[in-house]
């Protein structure tokens, strides 16, 4: 009896485990099938490097270079803001903050992560956007910069909490050793603890960036959604994700436009995959 129970449980767990892989493969295949259908009529090079995205004009122009650059620009800006602040904040929480404020800070950061992105986007729209407009004397505050700042807020909780974990799990003996050699607290952090936690911190950064690339709602609300080649961070841009979200509803199923949106999905997938593989390679090189 007991044996049968074991057997059933084992199989059940096996099915659960395999299910996730099964669904991933299924989704991936569907994405590939629908996306690659586009390349029967449009050259991949024209799609990737075309500078014009006019999906419903006649004939449709399906170049996504402005969208790719829009995504990269917003992501890059967000990374530039969130990585230094996030890592510094992790250092403060892990090493400097007194026990009481540490708990409060950690709770605050978790709360920040819990804010739905649409709410953040909404708040950004009514506060950040007018502010950017006024500060830079722009015709509109719906710019790549606004998107970057908002996305930085979204990447920060991930970066802070994972980097803090990484710093916290650095063996205490490293810090003791450094202090016993006469290092100051900051030297111990900078020269020993950060290098020791570097893999975890890198993972934190990558996951933060991953969240930013995939983010849709908030960017759609505050980047202005102009599918033009970005020339400045103070200009409206359109990201890959926002394009899919905004246009999927109105694209005719089976049309070129519809397939093009799936192809954008593939591009997004490739970018986030590359981010992960890049992080992985870097980690192994380090060791």
């Amino acid at each position: 009896m007991r044996k049968i129970k074991e057997l059933i449980l084992e199989k059940l767990i096996f099915i659960c485990g395999i299910a996730s892989i099964f669904f991933v493969v299924l989704i991936f295949l569907f994405l590939l099938k629908e996306g690659f259908a586009l390349f029967k009529t449009v050259l991949p090079a024209d799609f990737l490097f075309g500078r014009k995205w006019y999906p419903i004009s006649e004939p449709a122009q399906l170049g996504i270079l402005p969208l790719i650059l829009g995504s990269l620009l917003v992501t890059f800006g967000a990374a530039l803001i969130s990585i230094p602040i996030g890592v510094a904040s992790a250092i403060y929480i892990a090493e400097v903050a007194p026990a009481k404020s540490k708990e409060i800070l950690k709770a605050g950061i978790e709360l920040l992560a819990a804010i739905p992105s649409v709410v953040l986007g909404f708040i950004g729209m009514v506060t950040l956007v007018p502010w950017v407009k006024k500060l830079f004397h722009l015709p509109t505050g719906l710019t790549a910069l606004s998107g970057s700042i908002m996305l930085a807020f979204m990447a920060m909780p991930t970066i802070v909490s994972i980097a803090e974990d990484a710093l916290y799990s650095v063996p205490k003996t490293y810090k003791e050793g450094a202090l016993a050699l006469g290092a100051t607290h900051w030297q111990a952090i900078w020269r020993v603890m950060l290098p020791a936690a570097s893999s975890g911190i890198l993972a934190a950064v990558m996951l933060g960036i991953g969240r930013v690339i995939g983010e849709t709602m908030a960017v759609m609300m505050i980047t202005g959604n102009a599918a033009v080649m970005p020339t400045s961070i103070l200009q409206p841009v359109r990201t890959l994700t926002a394009t899919i979200a905004a246009e999927m509803g109105e694209a005719v199923v089976g049309s070129e436009h519809y397939f093009a949106l799936f192809a954008i999905g593939i591009v997004l997938f490739v970018i986030s995959f590359a981010v992960n593989v890049g992080a992985d390679l870097f980690l192994h090189k380090k060791r």
């Binding site: 063996p171 490293y174 003791e176 202090l179 050699l181 006469g182 290098p195 020791a196």
Partner: protein
Amino acid sequence: MDIKVSGLNLWYGDFHALKDVHALFCAKKITAIIGPSGCGKSTLLRVFNRMNDLVEGARIKGEVVIERENILDEDTDLVKLRKRVGMVFQRPNPFPLSVLENVIFGLKIHGLANKYEAEETAEQSLKSVLLWDELKDKLNKPALGLSLEQKQRLCIARLISVKPDILLMDEPCSALDPQATQRIEELMRELKTNYTIIIVTHNMQQAARVSDDTGFMLLGELVEFAKTEEIFTKPKDRRTEDYITGRYG
């Protein structure tokens, strides 16, 4: 450089960990501190480089004088103190950096040397712990890949490179096998010509083998402090005798 301890008391919260300790640790000698676990021997060692400051709720009273300076004073420069009083830990703790970076770590943080001098010092330090021949071609390899004994030697080299006067060793051989232990002990004998060495050990044979003076601690008290031969052959205190002969701890 001598260390003179008088009227030293230390509390962790309500726990009285060191009770009125008086002792004189002599320069260019190895002094062993022995006693059962929890007797306060590591705590005493950590007073000398103020590592107890890291423990929350620790309070100290008394005097520890190194070169006419009471290091327990509020305004003691901890960076200077710890540069002068180095510590080797129970578990070898090289940093997750290369061998070379480990050895010159102290030089770097104290801004002591340019690149050329640093490499020179690294070579001397590694030679003095007898690691140079083994590691001279592996200076850029990660230190975490070394054997335990090599790691412990590297940690000692890391100390020596900042030219301290006093070496504190907190059970430096407890993670090592007997052969490695023997070689580290030989190294200690060589080093004592230049340094004041204080070693905490739970291994009485080790204390008898390497030390010149020995202190026996029990429940936070320094019960007896004398020449090693005296402690091991004709201890004055009954409790010391009980411990040495194995009726204790």
